[in-house]
């Protein structure tokens, strides 16, 4: 297993944001993490990144503990979310150059140009971040996320703010990375169709707990308690959230 999360919990005062969550991701797998707002998805991702210290539990990535090998692990993985930003006065190129230096790339300009091309924003290279649309910003985040050719990618709603055509391009880029380089991806999204298409397995979080886990079709059949030929995660989502809320 590339990622192993065991009994992970996080408490902020009285509030239990993540409650005894366990899961594992195989090498080269794309795993979806679903759940309503406040379910604990982002907190879990931040704990995997070492940005938040867990209250209890264990995170192991590439067979090493995140608590003791943070730098080594982070050099081989990456992350993006449309909800984090870049210094807005710096151009796209300048921002990406900073990360290229952090990852000590040998030919940073070539790598950056290739990534800008891949995500269709080559013409924005010398524009300040402040002058980009939300969708363009998201794509700069994706360029940053692919900068070090990561073996593990954590993507928090990577297609939020993207129009359908660009979202389709991004999904293809992710699938290509998985197919060609065996990149392992942990993917959160509110778009159920996207998750069905992208992810081999998913886990559902609600109130910080894993309430369902499996392949999209397994989860659909188990939660809806009927035979289905196609996954129906949207229905599952509504059933789980309403059912648990009730």
């Amino acid at each position: 297993m590339l990622v192993e999360v065991e009994n992970l919990s996080k408490t902020f005062g009285e509030f239990r944001a993540v409650d005894n969550v366990s899961f594992a991701i195989e090498r080269g797998e794309i795993m979806g993490m679903l759940g309503p707002n406040g379910a604990g998805k982002t907190t879990t991702i931040h704990m995997i990144l070492g940005l938040i210290t867990p209250s209890s539990g264990r995170i192991s990535i590439f067979g090493k503990s995140m608590a003791t090998h943070r730098g080594e692990i982070l050099a081989r993985m990456n992350f993006t979310s449309p909800y984090v930003a870049f210094p807005f006065r710096l151009t796209v190129l300048e921002n990406l150059m900073v990360f290229a230096r952090i990852y000590n790339l040998k030919k940073p300009r070539e790598r950056i140009d290739e990534l800008l091309q891949r995500f269709g924003i080559a013409k924005l290279r010398d524009k300040p971040i402040a002058r980009l649309s939300s969708g363009e910003n998201t794509r700069v985040g994706l360029c940053k996320a692919f900068m070090n050719d990561p073996q593990l990618l954590l993507l928090d709603e990577p297609t939020a703010y993207l129009d359908p055509e660009i979202a389709w391009q991004v999904k293809n880029a992710l699938l290509d990375a998985q197919r060609e380089k065996g990149t392992t991806i942990l993917y959160t999204s509110h778009n159920m169709d996207e998750v069905e298409r992208m992810c081999k397995r998913i886990i559902f979080l609600h109130h910080g707990k894993v309430i369902a886990a499996g392949t999209p079709i397994e989860i659909t059949q188990a939660i809806l308690e009927e035979e289905r030929e196609e996954p129906a995660l949207e229905e599952v989502f509504l059933r789980l959230v309403k059912g648990k809320a009730a």
Partner: protein, 262 residues
């Protein structure tokens, strides 16, 4: 610690300095404006028959050194606030970049900036008021080092407070050094202070640096006493600042503040 990651932090802030008009004014405008204003004041004093020798040099020297101290402390804190304003902390700390690498990079870029300001102010003082700081530098450098070391400890402590209380207390970045100015005896000797304030002044490395600088300009030579007092206090404040910052950073990670800062 990896040099390429420290370099990345320096480059990030140099890009910012180039593109941010506020940072450019901090860099050159205020040090030059200060020296121009105080220069005119010294010209006014020079016309007074009661002017004591070396007062002009003392004032201009003090303005230049205070600008260096204040600029370094401010740039440290503002450099970090910049990351909060643009919500860049998650991006930075989800990479292998460590906190110590970030801080060393920030210190490096602040040192560069403060040297630019120091050169600009010194050049104006020399060109407009015939005050040449260069001959004094060999004896000033130990005091300047103490000033920068104290600015560093303060910058680290204030950055720690900003980590904990976020931009709610960002005004401290610009104002904290000002709080210390009266007891730092920048423009006047320590003997001018009331007795109770002298005790405070003795605990400030800044006061020892300015006192030492005045002795040099008065022709009394380098004061090892003021230098070593300043250095000793700095060592204590630096250890305290580092300990405080490390503790605050761990608190920020435990409380999830690192990802919620704005």
């Amino acid at each position: 610690m990896k040099i390429h990651r420290i370099n990345a932090v320096i480059v990030r802030h140099l890009y910012e300095a180039r593109r941010n008009f506020d940072r450019l004014t901090d860099l050159i405008w205020w040090p030059v404006l200060d020296i121009v204003m105080w220069g005119f004041f010294t010209i006014y004093l020079a016309h007074s028959s009661r002017l004591q020798p070396n007062v002009v040099s003392c004032l201009l020297g003090a303005v230049i050194l205070w600008g260096t101290f204040y600029g370094f402390q401010r740039d440290m804190a503002v450099g970090f606030i910049d990351e909060l304003w643009c919500r860049n902390l998650i991006n930075l700390f989800s990479t292998p970049l460590t906190l110590s690498e970030y801080m060393v990079g920030l210190i490096g870029v602040c040192l560069l900036k403060v040297m630019v300001g120091l050169c600009a102010a010194s050049a104006v003082a020399w060109a407009a008021y015939s005050f040449d700081i260069v001959p004094w530098l060999p004896m000033f450098i130990p005091y300047m080092a103490n000033l920068l070391f104290f600015a560093l400890a303060l910058g680290i402590a204030i950055t720690g407070l900003i980590f904990r209380y976020t931009t709610k207390i960002q005004a401290l970045a610009w104002s904290f050094a000002g709080l210390l100015m009266p007891a730092s005896c920048v423009m006047y000797p320590m003997s001018s202070l009331p007795r109770w304030m002298r005790a405070i002044a003795w605990m400030l490395p800044t006061a020892h640096s300015f006192e030492g600088m005045r002795q040099v300009l008065a022709g009394k030579g380098f004061s090892p006493q003021h230098f070593w007092w300043g250095a000793g206090l700095n060592a204590i404040y630096f250890v305290l600042a580092i300990g405080f910052f490390g503790w605050i950073f761990e608190q920020a990670r435990t409380r999830g503040l690192l990802v919620k800062m704005d």
